[in-house]
Assembly symmetry: C2
Homo-oligomer: 125 residues x 2
């Protein structure tokens, strides 16, 4: 719903204190971080790993609806960003365990504020 009136826009009177923000969004660390975490499965995977190390198989069954392909992609991407560690055990059949790194835990912690805001506005409250 848009308001409409006939006063003078406040921008006419106000000075422009803003020089210009970061142009290339790749250069905006916040946008980069948000996009890093904003894909379909990343947050779900991280939140499961928050409970401790998990094997591929366990992750797959813990996250309803994820495919092997997407789980693999998500984990590989998290690994390459240093957010999770991947450990291969030479058992038979092989097992692979994933765990949060300190950086990964830091990221989850940094999301606390947004998480609180999100809960508050989740059409509940």
């Amino acid at each position: 719903m848009s308001g409409t009136h006939s006063d003078v826009p406040s921008v006419v009177t106000a000075p422009l204190p803003d020089p210009v923000p970061r142009n290339e969004y790749e250069a905006c660390p916040v946008t980069a971080a948000v996009r890093r975490v904003g894909d379909r499965w990343t947050l779900l995977v991280l939140s499961v790993l928050k409970g401790g190390p998990r094997r591929f198989n366990v992750l797959e069954r813990s996250i309803e609806g994820i495919s092997q392909r997407m789980l693999t992609r998500t984990l590989r991407s998290l690994e390459s960003d240093g957010l999770v560690d991947r450990t291969v055990f030479a058992t038979n059949p092989p097992s692979v365990e994933y765990a949060l790194t300190a950086k990964g835990r830091g990221l989850l912690g940094a999301l606390a504020g947004l998480a609180a805001w999100a809960m508050e506005h989740a059409e509940g409250e």
Copy 2:
């Protein structure tokens, strides 16, 4: 870089304290919030509006690389989520002013933690 050794996976010994997180990501408020803000221009627009109300034209020139189309889309979407207010002034030529709502300011505030984390890990530090 993946580690490899031959110990027993810790998951064998550890119990599974995790029942199962939210399945449908639409049902996960945090993921929803992150995705809300994780598109190409939203954060840039919000951060400019943080400095006070701005006209369409000013926004366009403040955010290098944005097209009229994407600016309009981004603003409309923010408006429909109650994050910005849109006010039309019956001047000639017409001018339209956008401003953060309280909810919008709340969202930006909630991102402070993530912003700090992002700066810290922005290949600087």
